[in-house]
Symmetry: C2
């Protein structure tokens, strides 16, 4: 089975091989007897989850922290990325002595189902055919991702998480954890997210998907089988999305209207402005590490996310009598998941009688602030975990 | 010359023919002896401008109103569009008894140079080759558009405009008119615009251009010659841009998270949500009436726009001792050209000692508000023109 896939993708980019045999990761394979039941009404079996851990699980198994990654993230949260060679995406937050202290906590980060870094997704081998799934892979939801993570915790023998934390799509998973498995989570830290995707968010995602699907090399999703790669479409999708991750002010501060390597315009369609050059680089480098179909599946999962809709249209029903301790964080300049969305979470949690604190961090860095050097965020995460640790009676 | 073009595009879409022989328009052809001198340092000659007029020029030739169109607009401001069959794009604003009253004013609207509705642009026939210009067409600027409009006014025997008015890219032209030809403009009404394109604006445009250029049918800009059409790329560009024309609130009000023709998600990549279906329609219908290369040229012109840079970096220098009466209008929910940009215009005009009034209209309709049914905008335009008419001594 694995053999077949390697053959199919021998000439493909490293990304494609990563889907079945991810480097520097642990893979847990769930057999036909352990299906993942999906919101779409079908089951996925067998399937696999790729993950990384950092730090050590204590004897009582009570110090586990699950980190949920965002749309284009993966399990390589705090160690060198095997494809890009770059530091982990939350290296600044996770490690010895860092706010999420790996000398204290057992940190788990798994690639979401639907992803392309070793958990089952559209670029994985379909065991029924021996070929990459492509669009035959079932459409997944945020809740499906969380169900798969719960199965991973079962496998690891962890009954309850000390905390679950994540930003953006990761924050959606955090909220879904609290809604679906309230007794398996002691505390939850959703950052820069919302309980549902807005019309504008869906619209931006749809443009990205159309950019991918407009690329003739996408081949109706069969590009891995046909040996093509919709890199141009995916790069355009990434460029557009990247704008939404930054604020107008941050773009102005970083680039303004400065020309790239020149003083005057060239009067051409070259990347005259620094911001153009930067965006093109973002698009090109993304394509080297990410799978186009995964991009479709994960954006779709975010679009479908609507916790209230899953609870008779009443958001607070999702958190009724929740035992979870919440800390909700937003950023002033985040226009993709603005503070108003975080306030809606807080109001629902208050209405549900849950314990919640809320912090809006003043920054001009936009949505991406959760990934960047934001001392206030570090202080909040550190303080919240410290307080939760005491409340939990966790040593030391 | 025209003959050659018709041959070349006989099997092309109507759009391509419109470039040389626009329907329902007047065309003025400037010969080799009347070149348009461009900011790029070259001259365009011969060239042509397609325009429409409404109302009657008075004997003193003092009642002319120039309307400048936006990125995807054209000369068909208040009469049926020959390609789409739809009403003019500012029908609601221009006509007998309307705020820009064609019983009182002589309204002129010309297709900008670089456009695709009959003024010389990349889809026009290059007289040197007898084939469509494509990327051989020189890159143009907002000031070039205005210079061409000034030549049109010379041709019409109009020394001074009673007013020049426009929104978005049209507003940029209005500001450029006041900066470049202050003594040919009695009053100016720039709506929802800025004196320069921001880094975020450039970024969005660059994504659109990359979407067009990523389409293999674009053929390095030679699609008209090669008989292809980058419709998918242009549709994606339009979809992305369209989001920026609306506010988050307007998208939420119009579509929210409603499903299209169903109650539940299909768990597929169909246009499940109404907002997806709407965007796809916007993309598809745009391609039927617009030229992909023109889209590149006009977005580029907007990106290059920076009035301060043309005046030693000091914006107020552009309007020093300006005799023009200004009325600047912005919309609260316009995040593409936010009110802060309009305030910067007003501050520069104040610093320059110019006469200016300013109105920020409260609306949730976003940037596109200038094209929509905004009674407050109608009242402002009517009131400003009325006051200017009295100040000018214009009868009746």
């Amino acid at each position: 089975m694995v053999e077949a896939n390697l053959t199919a993708t021998r000439d493909g980019p490293p990304r494609a091989r990563e889907a079945d045999e991810p480097r520097d990761s642990v893979v847990v394979r769930f057999g036909a007897d352990q299906p993942l039941r999906l919101d779409a009404g079908v089951s996925l079996a067998p399937f696999q989850i790729a993950y990384k851990t950092y730090g050590r699980l204590n004897e009582a198994r009570t110090n586990a922290v699950l980190i949920c990654h965002a749309l284009t993230g993966d399990q390589h949260v705090a160690s060198t990325h095997p494809v890009t060679g770059k530091p982990g995406w939350w290296d600044i937050m996770v490690g010895p002595g860092r706010p999420i202290d790996t000398e204290r906590y057992f940190v788990i980060c798994s690639n979401v189902v639907g992803g392309c870094m070793g958990s089952s997704g559209p670029s994985s081998t379909n065991p029924q055919t021996g070929k990459p799934w492509g669009l035959e892979f079932p459409v997944i939801t945020i809740r499906d991702m969380v169900r798969a993570q719960a199965m991973l915790l079962d496998h690891l023998g962890i009954e309850r998480l000390f905390t679950v934390v994540g930003g953006s799509m990761g924050g959606m998973q955090v909220l879904e954890w609290a809604a679906t498995f309230p007794h398996r989570v002691f505390s939850a830290l959703p950052v820069a997210c919302a309980t549902r995707h807005s019309a504008q968010n869906i619209a931006f995602h749809e443009v990205g998907r159309q950019a991918v699907m407009a690329d003739p090399e996408w081949r109706g999703g069969r590009y891995l089988v046909e040996g093509t790669n919709p890199r141009r479409g995916l790069a355009v999708a990434r460029m557009g999305a990247h704008i939404t991750y930054l604020s107008d002010a941050a773009l102005h501060r970083k680039f303004g209207r400065r020309f790239q390597d020149r003083d005057n315009p060239t009067f051409s369609f070259d990347a005259d402005f620094e911001v153009e050059s930067y965006l093109r680089h973002q698009g090109i480098s993304f394509v080297e590490r990410f799978d186009a179909n995964s991009y479709l599946y994960l954006t779709r999962a975010m679009d479908y996310f609507d916790i209230a809709a899953d609870h008779d249209g009443v958001l607070s029903n999702a958190f009724k009598d929740s035992p979870v301790r919440f800390c909700v964080v937003s950023f002033t300049s985040d226009w993709l998941f603005p503070t108003s969305e975080s306030r809606a979470i807080v109001h629902a949690l208050n209405a549900a009688g849950a314990r919640v604190s809320f912090a809006e961090i003043v920054t001009d860095k936009g949505h991406d602030a959760f990934l960047l050097d934001e001392p206030e965020l570090f202080a909040i995460v550190r303080g919240f975990l410290e307080a939760a640790r005491k409340a939990c009676g966790l040593e030391p």
